[in-house]
Symmetry: C2
Subunit: 658 residues, 2 copies
């Protein structure tokens, strides 16, 4: 039957012309990358990549990540030609409103797109996450003779990806962890947007990756035999991830633009497109031409994919027979369903207990969750003893123990975020990662991408205010809460006590369609004994008639102290705990008005952070006790006092507006 299929060279040319045509039609996009990588992509997608185009969700598929997301037309053309649910019309609506072919690949929008890429280096980190998740799942579920988890991760990346610091963090950890099923293909075309990479880039990439413990191979990017050999070599297990340095030509074949930055970030122009098609021996006036023998590959690849999947289903059946409990759990975690009684061991805390930092309460909750949820894992950026996220006695993940449940990410926050997204997208594991809240700054885009993708990564940020003390202003968050709250689709929770912490954890675990950020204290806090109604975002903790004191996190107990002070002078203050702006804003107006009655206009918000964003809740007559400056290095209580985060100041402010 293969006689009716076009030879790979024709398919490669089809990819190139589709990319040129789509970018030209959109009058926007990056044609040169897809043209240079067409042979790499085709030989991978029809060669070693084990995938099932008719079922992009087959759990044991190989993952492919286009870290150089601007070359999206390469991926769209590959998905289309290899039989995914994508049409030529989809390609013709490249970069158009509500199309399935946006400027950069978007997870959840296009079948076969494993992750959203575009901000450079993110895909690299995601790919490391996919590869790590595969090993972790294999360690959990495979049994002798039953390799139900048995796939690889492939990615392409550009010079831009490799210049970004996140690639360093992700590559270094991948090398350390010995992720030998991870293979990257570096599109070494020597051109970036502003010109030749020689303007700014002199790394010896091979030497660099060898230093991380990677195997480094080389191949001509247009030589299908060399590429095939490199893919084969990359699969020989030797304990190292592999980087294939593919020597490619941006805008391959474009007579006036190949190997120049003019082929990078804008359409080639009608004339150059035509001239390039002539070079290819392609009909120069045809647009979006897919010769029939090229089109036939879609069926061929679907069939091949189904065969791969069938073979796996047979393996699964044998596994389910031999290991029914494991198989049931495997299917449950892949379906992202929670086990019965998943939160049965989550402790309740009593106001009679000693003060407890929310990071410490979180530690207890996490370990209670871990006891019932084998899929629950955590990692920290060299601060697990401070963030208190360690799952006690459950081991550290390393190359000889992928079955452990604590990941030591090292001082690599940006990589940690991207790897966490990759692990979470892979399926089968719920990964929480943590660091000091200040270092949200280092990993912000990964949180944004989780929100954009609807990826339920969980981010724990501790040491959440100036109360963290002596480390001083470089480590004291001020603007970070506002920055987090402004991110669409992100749920940010700053619990006020141990019970709100437990409630916040329940919400984070139950959330399936987006990320959750938990913001926790370093310092001890009293257990409030309130309803801890975190799910509604805010609630009345103590009632009162004359004014409302609104707080979050550690400032709720401070608001309660202020209430006492006010009561002593005959003022009755309501205390509202507002752990989550987003969740509260999503409540019906009736509920919100019950908590913050429109006629109770004397409102004081207190938060040990920037005031930005609080006006919405305190209103025109309200006041905000906050910190609109950087912090100080001193013991936490002294810093709070120095910056006016005191019950006295809150009470005084309330009096001043009454």
């Amino acid at each position: 039957m293969s006689a009716v299929l076009a030879p790979p060279e024709t398919c490669v040319t089809t990819i190139r012309t589709l990319a040129m045509d789509a970018v030209q039609k959109a009058n926007s996009g990056h044609p040169g990358g897809p043209m240079g990588l067409a042979a790499v992509g085709w030989s991978l997608f029809t060669g070693p990549l084990r995938h099932s185009p008719s079922n992009p969700h087959w759990p044991d598929r190989d993952r492919f990540v286009l870290s150089n997301g601007h070359s999206s037309m390469l991926l769209y053309a590959l998905l289309f030609l290899t039989g995914y649910d994508l049409t030529l019309d989809d390609l013709k609506s490249f970069r158009q409103l509500h199309s399935r072919t946006p400027g950069h690949p978007e997870y959840g929008l296009t079948p076969g797109v494993e992750t959203t890429t575009g901000p450079l280096g993110q895909g690299f980190g995601n790919a490391v996450g996919f590869a790590l998740a595969e090993r972790m799942m294999a360690a959990r579920y495979n049994r002798p003779g039953h390799d139900v988890v048995d796939h690889r991760t492939w990615f392409t990346c550009s010079d831009g990806d490799l210049m970004e610091g996140i690639s360093h963090e992700a590559a270094s950890l991948a090398g350390f962890l010995g992720l030998e099923r991870l293979t990257g293909i570096y599109d070494n075309n020597s051109v970036s947007l502003d010109g030749p990479t020689s303007l700014t880039y002199g790394d010896d990439v091979g030497e660099r990756f060898a230093a991380y413990g990677w195997r480094v191979l080389h191949a001509e990017g247009n030589d299908l035999v060399e590429l095939g050999q490199a893919y084969a070599d990359a699969q020989v297990p030797d304990g190292r991830p592999t980087l294939i340095i593919a020597h490619t030509h941006i805008g391959y074949g474009a007579p006036g633009m190949q190997d120049t930055s003019r082929a990078h970030g804008s359409p080639l122009g009608e004339d150059e497109v035509r001239a390039t098609k002539r070079v290819y021996g392609w009909p120069e006036d045809a647009h979006f031409l897919v010769p029939p023998d090229v089109a036939r590959w879609a069926d061929e690849m679907r069939e091949r994919g189904r065969a791969l999947e069938d073979e796996w289903q047979a393996r699964m059946a044998a596994y389910a027979h031999a290991y029914p409990a494991e198989a049931a759990e495997f299917e449950r975690v892949l379906a992202r369903e929670l086990p019965d009684g998943w939160d049965a061991e989550v402790p309740a805390f009593s106001p009679d207990d000693d003060k407890v930092a929310t990071r410490v309460a979180s530690f207890k909750v996490m370990n209670a969750l871990a006891a019932r949820m084998p899929e629950f894992i955590q990692g920290a950026a060299d601060l697990s003893e401070s963030t208190r996220t360690e799952l006690t006695g459950l081991g550290d993940v390393n190359r000889s123990d992928y079955g452990a449940r604590n990941i030591r990410f090292g001082v690599r926050e940006h990589g940690m975020g991207a790897i966490t997204n990759g692990v979470t997208l892979h399926g089968g594991l719920r990964l929480t990662c943590s660091t000091f809240m200040q270092f949200y700054d280092y990993m912000k885009n990964t949180v944004r991408l989780a929100a954009l993708m609807g990826c339920p990564s969980i981010f724990v940020y501790t040491h959440d205010s100036v109360a963290m003390g002596e480390d001083g202003p470089t480590h004291q968050p001020i603007e970070h809460l506002a920055a987090l709250r402004a991110v669409p689709k992100l749920v940010v929770i700053r619990p006020a006590d141990a019970n709100e912490t437990a409630a916040a954890w329940r919400l984070a675990i139950e959330r399936r369609d987006g990320p959750t950020v938990l913001v926790l204290t370093r310092q001890g806090l009293p257990v409030l004994g309130g309803p801890a109604d975190v799910a509604r975002g805010g609630y009345v903790l103590d009632d009162g008639d004359d004014c409302v004191l609104i707080g979050t996190g550690s400032e709720v107990s401070l608001a309660r102290e202020a209430r006492e002070l006010l009561a002593a002078t005959g003022i009755s203050a309501r205390v509202v705990s507002l752990p989550s702006f987003e969740l509260f804003a999503a409540q019906p107006a009736r509920y919100r008005d019950a908590v913050l009655p429109p006629d109770m206009t004397a409102r004081v918000a207190v938060e040990a952070a920037a005031s930005f964003g609080w006006a919405r809740w305190v209103g025109d007559r309200g006041a905000i006790v906050a910190i609109d400056r950087f912090g100080e290095s001193a013991p936490g209580p002294e810093v709070l006092r120095d910056l006016g985060i005191t019950a006295e100041h809150v009470a005084e402010t309330a009096r001043s507006i009454l």
Copy 2:
């Protein structure tokens, strides 16, 4: 006279005991790093480091950066012992409120601290900036026989610094630029906070840095002879920066804690401190002991420093005689004073002009400034053709032309930010760096540190909204304006047209005590013809009685369109341009009330970004037309329409609240 000076070994022990004592007294801090690096620091500060402790501002001093800022007691002890204006009492108030010895070194607070470090990797990037600035200043001002710029940059860094991605970006660029006067000393102690680095870190650091084009040397961290030899070797010019891998012992000498993470992030404990002093042969009950022969080094070092400075002053005098114009300019730029007529060529734009994108207006303004300000330079992260920040015809900085005025940072945003801060702190140059606004996410902490330091770096972010179009949601800022506005001490300006852009640039250039962010459009905007009173942060562009329409940037002209629509139905709308929240908030209430009269409560804000933070300006009765979701990949005007950022929607919203 040297007979009266303590031998270096005694000084090294003094540093170690001061560090232990200070951390113990504060009951907080990192003793182990300073103990391990004491010999490295002492041999550097009394050896090759050319500095003048009695004048920490001597322009030609060598710069020293402690990138591992948590080891701050090392730096404080060195500054104290070598004669800077720091007392033993200062050391005793380590990490106490308003002391000069905060948890991490802070620029502007402690004499001799060149930059604020703590977030790991930032100091590495700053150091690259210092070294680059030195070469750029040398290229500008040195003349044959007159090397008035002739210093080096030294820094220490930890495994944490090297795990961070920013170290990759900064090191790669330093290697590319051949910054041979830059020497880093890697505190290779094999321990991080969570335990031995072998838990998570396997890089071959030497090979990695060789791949960047660095010279790599090794030395035992306690061997003064080896260290001295390494410092000497590092100064042999060979076109490469140098990394000295110093093999050190965290918590050196502590009998129960050396080489363990227990010596890293908390006090050793009174018993261990005493035991360690016994090991050192030091009086175990003495605290903050500085033997007289150690104390004498302060005078010695001040004297040595004054001699170095005198020699330089003589050079300067000869230079001023031979090159009076150059010398005058050199002194002017070091004093951060503007030349006469610095803004004389800044164009004025007319409402009769065609639409112009603010990035394009900015391009014209920047080139006009460059014509009159030789200290004005720019760099971009591989997007200068998009951010339109290139200084035309003024060359690219590279190892054979440090006199050029455009820096190609490559796709290295985080490194770019830190290097920009370093260049700016060095003095003599005003550096603007730019990228797409989305990639603020990658460099956020550098902007924060500029604000914290009061460092007047200028950050230009273009493609500032969903109107950037086809690149889609991964590249379309939403929450970024809110995130920027929440940062203390940062001035964020989103100009509405070409004239506001020019005014914004004037403010950025005139600002000496903090950073400025300019937020610019990709798309063309009409020239409004208003007063462009950016300095006040907001002003009335068009008057009206019934309601107020408030916009920033590209949405101001849209508000004006809405005003027309409202006028057609008999509603008189005032249009307020609010280019800078911070600058407006800093105005007297009288001015603010004149722009936004308290009795004009029908207010509509419009901004193509998250609504977060706008409630403050629209008040309880107001409404916000904004984008509280992620964007779409499509041509900009279609995205704006799809997301409701239209004049019709603004007019409708105004009607609905009237």
